[in-house]
């Protein structure tokens, strides 16, 4: 019985070692954070539009249909990689995508969209990251899926690419149900 007690720290040690080793080898990004906004209403805010001289008012614009909210900037390289896939989502699936131009130069952003095409139904400007902070954004690009009741259901940190496009579409379908 005493031997059991003496040996238990060693067993515990190996158990902990096993857990650490498991976490080390599985496919996960430890710096990725879960969003606090999942299953919550979209934040209320007002923002200026990039291409029109109008104000966008949340959350009233989010009701009726599933909407993507995509934070992007011209200085962000992965955003450029992601761009064709956003166009694909907008053209092939007819998804409403709201773009938020995060801490960017507006002139550059307009040129960027003219050159690459504009998959967004609205592009909002966020010059001082105030919107980004409200959405809990910490690295570009980030994409949120908002359901037809204006509730945030999913967040993707990092670009939509060839690798995760199908999985992302599946998430959209789940939210659309």
């Amino acid at each position: 019985m005493k031997k059991g007690i003496l040996i238990s720290p060693i067993i515990l040690f190996f158990l902990i070692l096993f857990v650490f080793f498991y976490l080390l080898i599985i496919d996960r990004n430890p710096s990725e954070l879960p969003s606090m906004l999942i299953n919550k209403k979209v934040p209320a805010f007002e923002a200026k539009l990039l291409l029109e001289n109008k104000t966008f008012i949340s959350p009233s614009e989010f009701e009726n249909e599933t909407t993507l909210v995509n934070f992007f900037a011209t200085w962000c390289k992965p955003c450029l990689d992601e761009h064709p896939y956003l166009k694909k989502l907008s053209n092939e699936r007819g998804l409403k995508i709201i773009g938020i131009n995060y801490k960017d130069d507006s002139k550059r952003a307009i040129k960027w969209l003219e050159k690459l095409g504009n998959p967004y139904s609205n592009v909002l400007v966020d010059p001082n990251a105030r919107l980004g902070i409200d959405w809990g954004v910490y690295g570009l690009p980030e994409t949120f899926i908002v359901n037809s009741n204006g509730v945030i259901k999913y967040r993707l940190v990092g670009p939509i690419t060839k690798r995760n496009y199908d999985a992302f579409v599946l998430k959209v379908k789940e939210v659309e149900k």
Binding site: K2, I5, L6, S8, P9, S31, L33, P34, M36, L37, K103, N128, A129, R130, G132, I133, D134, W135, G136, Y138, G139
Partner: protein, 139 residues
Amino acid sequence: MQRILLAIVVCFMTSQIVTINCYSVDPDEFLQNPKKELRARNISKNVRCLVCQNQSIDESSAPLAKDLRILIRKKIKQGNSDEEIYNFLTERYGDFILLNPLFKISTLFLWILPFVFLAIGIFVIFLHNNKSKKLNYSK
């Protein structure tokens, strides 16, 4: 000779302290009121930078850290309490943004487990001690 050596060591150590205490806060971010500025600094030291995740926003030069420092100062100017500011941040970024984990049910193990291990350790030593004492007596 020894005194000179001591002086060199002291100089070296104090220079280390000075270099450790370098911050990323820009002078243009400072608040005019020193009391409020101190509050802002204290909050910043306890808020994690989510870009370089083991630094506080007080130390980090990431753009997001700067945005958050400015936001915290703005909130202080508007008369928000420290607690309100922490709540504002955790609502958006989660408890992870606090460098000091909160004491709640989900973090209970985190806080209590070291003491549990300490108790186990003491128990094992005690047991071992008793055993060796018995062995000595039997000799």
